[in-house]
C-alpha cells in the first residue's frame, strides 16, 4: 500500500516538474519579446537610460496620420463589431439549438468559412463592395465593421456554442414558454443570462481581433490603429512612440481579458458548486 502511494507521489512529482518546465519555456517564449518591447518603449535618449517620453507622445503624436484618431477608430470599431456579432449570432446559435438542430453543422461550417479564406483573397472579393459602401454611405473607417463582423464569426461562434453547451436550453425554454414567455423573452431573459461566459468570451475574441487587425484595413485603404502604427514606423525617426503605443494596445487587451475572466469566474464558480450539490 505504502509502496503504491510512494510510486504515485513520485509520478505526480515528476509530472509537476514537467508541467513547470513546459510552463516556463513557453512563458519565456511569449513574454520575452513583450518585455523587450516594453523595455524599448521606456528607453531614454541614450542607450540604457530610462524615460517615459515615448509614452507621453502617444497623446501628442500628431502624425500624419494622428495616432490618437487611430486609437479612437479602432476602439469604436471594436465596440460596434462586438455588438453586431452578438446581435447576429446569439439568437442564431440559440435558435439553431432549439428548433433546427439539423442545421448545426451547416451554420458551423458557414461561420468557420472566414477562417479558411486568406485575408488577401477576402480583400479581392470585398474591394468592389467597399467601393459601393464608400460611394453610397460614408468614407469613415468605421465601415470596416462589416468585414470585421465576418472575420470574427468563427471565434465568436465557437465561444457562444461552447457557452451554450452547459445550458439545458430545451427544458429552460419550455418551462419559460409554459409560464407565458414569447420567444424573444425566452432568448434574452432566460437563455442569454445563463450563457454569460460564452457571450463574454465572444466579445473578448472579437475585440482582440479588431484591435490587432492590419491587413484588410491597409489593403482597403482605411486607417485604423495598426495601419497608423505602420505609418508611424515608416515615417518617424523616433521609434519609441511606436512601441509605447503597441504596448499600450497590448496592455489594454490584457486588462480586458483579466476583467472578462474575473467577471466570468464569479459565475463559473456558482455553476461548479451546483454540480457538487446534486
Amino acid at each position: 500500500m505504502a509502496a503504491v502511494t510512494g510510486l504515485h507521489a513520485r509520478r505526480r512529482r515528476r509530472l509537476n516538474v514537467f508541467r513547470y518546465a513546459v510552463f516556463t519555456v513557453f512563458g519565456l517564449f511569449f513574454l520575452l519579446p513583450l518585455l523587450a518591447m516594453i523595455r524599448f518603449s521606456l528607453e531614454g535618449s541614450t542607450s540604457g537610460s530610462w524615460s517615459l517620453s515615448a509614452w507621453g507622445q502617444i497623446a501628442s503624436y500628431a502624425g500624419p496620420p494622428p495616432l490618437l484618431s487611430g486609437v479612437e477608430i479602432t476602439l469604436e470599431l471594436a465596440v460596434i463589431t462586438c455588438l453586431v456579432v452578438l446581435v447576429l449570432l446569439v439568437p442564431t446559435v440559440i435558435w439553431v439549438r432549439l428548433r433546427v438542430r439539423w442545421m448545426t453543422r451547416l451554420i458551423e461550417a458557414l461561420c468557420l468559412l472566414p477562417l479558411t479564406i486568406p485575408a488577401i483573397v477576402l480583400v479581392v472579393g470585398l474591394a468592389p463592395i467597399y467601393r459601393v459602401i464608400r460611394q453610397q454611405f460614408s468614407l469613415s473607417a468605421l465601415q470596416l465593421f462589416w468585414v470585421y463582423a465576418v472575420l470574427a464569426l468563427p471565434y465568436a461562434y465557437r465561444a457562444l456554442a461552447a457557452g451554450l453547451e452547459g445550458v439545458d436550453v430545451k427544458t429552460l425554454s419550455e418551462a419559460a414558454r409554459s409560464l407565458g414567455a414569447g420567444w424573444i423573452t425566452v432568448i434574452w431573459r432566460v437563455i442569454v443570462p445563463n450563457m454569460r461566459q460564452g457571450v463574454l468570451n465572444a466579445m473578448l475574441l472579437t475585440g482582440a481581433l479588431v484591435l490587432g487587425e492590419f491587413t484588410i484595413a491597409y489593403l482597403l485603404l482605411y486607417t485604423n490603429l495598426q495601419v497608423t502604427l505602420f505609418y508611424v514606423s515608416r515615417g518617424t525617426p523616433n521609434a519609441g512612440v511606436l512601441f509605447s503605443t503597441s504596448s499600450a494596445a497590448l496592455l489594454f487587451a490584457f486588462v480586458l481579458l483579466l476583467i472578462l475572466s474575473y467577471v466570468g469566474r464569479r459565475r463559473g464558480g456558482q455553476s461548479e458548486r451546483s454540480k457538487v450539490s446534486k
Binding site: D168, E174, A175, S178, N194, S271, S274, S277
Partner: protein, 342 residues
C-alpha cells in the same frame, strides 16, 4: 381557482414512421388528477406535450373548459408545467423563479412578491426564497418548480415525470405533497409517469397506455384488481403466467379452479394471469414445490417457488416468509379471485 374540464379527442402524432399517438381520447373532469402510465415510447409524454402546446398534433382536438386550444401556442395556454429535468432558471433566485410567470403577466411588484411567498409557503420553502437553484436539493428544486407552475393559477397542471430524478424516500414524500397541494388548489392535473406505484398512489384515475392509445382508464383499484387486458395486468403489478384449462366459465390451474374475469372466454388450453398475492401458502395445497429465492420487501416478502416445470411468485407477510428459507418444500394454493386469460 377550481378546475376546468380538459378533453383530448382523436389525437394523432407521428415522428417519421413511428406512430406516437394513434387516435387518443381522454377527458379529465374538473379538478381531477389523471395519471398516464405506460412503458417508454407508449405516447404518454407526447400526450402531455400536445396538451401543453410544446408540440403540434397531426390530427385531433384539444379543448380546455370547452374552448378549442389545438392551435394556441404554448405561451398562451395558461398551463403550469413541472418537468422531469430540473428546470429552474439558474440565474434567478427561488423567489424570482416563482414570480417569473406573474412578471410576464405584468402583475404589480407587491402582488407578485406576495403571491410568490404564498406559493413557497404552500411547498414549505419560504426560507429558501433568496437562494439559487444550485443551492437546493433535487427535491427542493422540484417543489419550487411546482410552486412556479402554480403561481400563475394555471387552468391545467401538467406533471411530466417530476419525481423520476429523485431518490426513493424524497420521491414518496413529494408524491404525497403533490397530491395534497393538488387537492388544495383543485387544479385539473395530468401526471405522466412510468412508475406504476406512483400512478396508483396519487391519481383519481389511471390511464394505462400502449402504442399511442389508452388501453384502460379507471380508478387505481379498478386498474389493479380488474385489469381489462393482459397488457394492463402485466404492466401494473407483478403477474404469474400459469398454464390452465378453461371449461365453462372457469379455469383449472394445476388443480385450483378459478373464476374467469371474462366468462365468455373459449374453452381450451390457456395462459392464466395470477397476482402473487393471490398465491398463498397452505399445509397441503394442490401446488407443491421448492422455495428458490426470498425477496424481502419490508412488511411483506416475495418468494419464488420452483414447481418443477415452471416457477411461481407468491407474496406473503414477512413473518410467514421467514419460516420458508430457500430450499424448503412448500405447498401453495391460489385464492379464487376472478382471473384474466392472456
Amino acid at each position: 381557482m377550481t378546475g376546468v374540464e380538459v378533453s383530448l379527442r382523436g389525437l394523432h402524432r407521428r415522428y417519421g414512421q413511428v406512430v406516437a399517438l394513434d387516435g387518443l381520447d381522454l377527458t379529465l373532469a374538473p379538478g381531477e388528477l389523471v395519471a398516464l402510465l405506460g412503458p417508454s415510447g407508449c405516447g404518454k409524454t407526447t400526450t402531455l406535450r400536445l396538451l401543453a402546446g410544446l408540440e403540434d398534433a397531426d390530427g385531433g382536438q384539444v379543448t380546455v373548459a370547452g374552448t378549442d386550444i389545438t392551435h394556441v401556442p404554448s405561451n398562451r395556454r395558461d398551463m403550469g408545467m413541472v418537468f422531469q429535468a430540473y428546470s429552474l432558471f439558474p440565474h434567478m433566485t427561488v423567489r424570482d423563479n416563482v414570480a417569473f410567470g406573474l412578471k410576464l403577466r405584468r402583475t404589480g411588484r407587491t402582488e407578485r412578491e406576495r403571491r410568490a411567498m404564498e406559493m413557497l409557503e404552500l411547498v414549505s420553502l419560504t426560507e429558501q426564497a433568496g437562494r439559487y437553484a444550485h443551492q437546493l436539493s433535487g427535491g427542493q428544486q422540484q417543489r419550487v418548480a411546482l410552486a412556479r407552475a402554480l403561481a400563475i393559477s394555471p387552468k391545467v397542471l401538467l406533471l411530466d415525470e417530476p419525481l423520476s430524478a429523485l431518490d426513493a424516500k424524497v420521491r414518496a414524500q413529494l408524491r404525497d405533497e403533490i397530491r395534497r397541494i393538488q387537492l388544495e388548489v383543485g387544479t385539473t392535473t395530468l401526471f405522466v409517469t412510468h412508475d406504476q406505484e406512483e400512478a396508483l398512489a396519487i391519481a383519481d384515475r389511471v390511464g394505462v397506455m400502449r402504442d399511442g392509445r389508452i388501453e384502460q382508464l379507471g380508478t387505481p383499484t379498478d386498474i389493479y384488481s380488474r385489469p381489462a387486458t393482459s397488457f394492463v395486468a402485466e404492466f401494473v403489478g407483478l403477474t404469474n403466467r400459469l398454464h390452465g384449462t378453461v371449461t365453462g366459465g372457469s379455469v383449472d390451474v394445476r388443480g385450483c379452479v378459478l373464476p374467469l374475469a371474462n366468462p365468455a372466454t373459449q374453452d381450451g388450453e390457456a395462459t392464466v394471469l395470477v397476482r402473487p398475492e393471490a398465491v398463498t401458502v397452505t399445509p397441503s395445497g394442490p401446488l407443491t414445490g421448492t422455495v428458490i429465492a426470498v425477496t424481502f420487501l419490508g412488511a411483506s416478502s416475495r418468494i419464488t417457488v420452483d414447481l418443477g416445470d415452471t416457477t411461481v411468485l407468491a407474496q406473503l407477510p414477512t413473518s410467514d416468509a421467514t419460516a420458508l428459507p430457500a430450499g424448503s418444500a412448500v405447498s401453495l394454493t391460489i385464492r379464487p379471485d376472478p382471473v384474466l386469460v392472456a
